[in-house]
């Protein structure tokens, strides 16, 4: 057991080193990303500020609280993008036969899929995320106590697991259909709108959908509402959301890996 864990860790770190080296080969290529991503997210929060200043708090969420939520959603997106971005390209790997390579190696396939590409560039998403979040904490009066930090870490882990589960499930569709189209951009848009903006803006039907069917409300909205004591649209659960988020994350992740495994049985190589 211990030796196999050691083996997995050494393989993962080797993969990670290769991936980072590969991306740093042309460092200037990062330049356009380094400009684009911060512009995109800072302007997003600026748009919210303009709307709130001009109109009113959005369902009781004023600008500091919106900033907190936006930052929390963005950080969990950023970390997800660093570690799990390969789930976006499962359909490519199925079509061009890259997936067969993973099947030939004597290791867990899902582990290989994830570990083989650590997306160093994803850290760029974390930069505006961390800045906006810390600014949000500052103006929303978030208390940096040990309990809160612990809760925050649990929420982030849970949120990342929920995201990973979603994209793994979507990617697994490709085992049956050979392609899942541009489902990724669809899911990304949905996630952005449901995790970085208050979920309570949407009709009850959508709120219920994003709470009980696809639990993306747990990624940032419910925890943020609990941290700041704002209106969360009326969902009441016993215990803290800081516990519910990791639970939701684990359940989703297990479910997604069952789908993934089941899909792999169905997989026949694209044959080219």
């Amino acid at each position: 057991m211990v030796s196999s864990i050691k083996h997995y860790v050494s393989v993962a770190s080797c993969f990670a080193r290769l991936a980072v080296q590969r991306q740093l080969e042309y460092p200037l290529f990062l330049f356009s990303w380094l400009l684009m991503i911060p512009i995109q997210y800072f302007s997003g929060i600026w748009m919210l500020k303009i709307i709130v200043d001009r109109f009113q708090p959005l369902n009781g969420w004023d600008f500091p609280q919106l900033t907190f939520l936006y930052g929390l959603g963005l950080i969990s997106h950023g970390i997800f993008v660093v570690f799990f971005i390969n789930t976006w390209s499962i359909d490519h790997m199925v079509i061009n036969g890259g997936f067969d390579r993973l099947l030939l190696r004597p290791m867990n396939v899902f582990f290989q899929l994830i570990a083989s590409y650590v997306n160093f560039i994803g850290l760029i998403d974390c930069i505006p995320g961390i800045i906006i979040f810390i600014y949000g904490c500052e103006i929303a009066g978030f208390e940096w106590s040990l309990v809160n930090i612990g809760k925050l870490i649990l929420v982030l882990i849970g949120g990342i697991l929920i995201r990973a589960a979603m994209f793994t499930g979507l990617g697994a569709i490709a085992f049956w259909t050979k392609r899942n189209g541009s489902m990724v951009s669809f899911a990304l848009t949905m996630l952005e709108r449901a995790t970085m903006y208050p979920l309570s803006m949407y009709p009850y039907f959508l709120q219920a959908l994003f709470t009980f069917v696809i639990p993306i409300g747990f990624i940032s909205f419910y925890p943020a509402a609990e941290f700041l004591g704002t209106d969360n649209g009326g969902l009441e659960l016993p215990l803290s959301f800081a516990l519910w988020t990791p639970v939701a994350g684990l359940v989703c992740f297990l479910l997604a890996s069952v789908i993934f495994r089941y899909g792999m049985k169905n997989y026949e190589s694209a044959g080219s």
């Binding site: 356009s32 684009m36 302007s43 748009m47 189209g181």
Partner: protein, 265 residues
Amino acid sequence: MLQAYWYITKMKLLTNLTYRFEVFTAVATNLILTLASVFLWQTAYKGGSGAVETLTLQDVTTYTILSITLSTIFVCGVQDTIYYKIREGQIVTDFYRPIPLLACYLADDIGDMLSSLMNKALPLIMFASIFFGIPWPASFQSFLLFLPSCLLSYAILWLLSALVGLIAFWVMELGNMGMVKDSIVRVLSGSIVPLWFFPDSVQTVSKFLPFQYTYQTPLGIYIGNTNAGDALTAMSVQAAWIVILFLFLAAGWARTKKKTLIQGG
């Protein structure tokens, strides 16, 4: 002569119409974006807080739906085309073509635009109408003014895109600067939040930039926030920007040709 361009446009159109599944998800993505944006506005306007504003909720809803629809039609692939052709070195063979290269790329983009009109814009408008009612123009006259203004908008966007594409001839290793330009345009064109809601200082600066004349001008005409007289003035500003950007592009393009020859492929 025009036949050659029409052929390029037609081929692009036909290629795009064969990929149906991609289109389905593209419509779904834009629909999500539309729904989410309109719900955001509905929350902002809730409880009559928008009464002080010049725009009603209906205006803003129409504005948002039309803005996202226009963004699916205004295809400016030219920046990516130039970037990838230079990166792959294919630009050299393209220079052999007996017709002006930029015009070819324009014909390509127009093909994209026509196919998007059919398989992205129309479905989006239809679905959005089911949710929020048909986004009617303020009057028939404003609709008639909206159309030419849109064409001018597209010309500005395309020229900007081509200009940014030219950057690749000098500093290809900086990656695709088109993305950076796009993210700036999205905000300063008023495509997400109309510039009328921005702080006054930003509005003043923006009057001297080309961006607000790409989305806000035609959309303002459509919802009737810009009256007929102002619309004609705005369109002449659009035309002026087209002339300026065209001159820049012509100057830049002449230089790039020399630059490519020096590199030697």
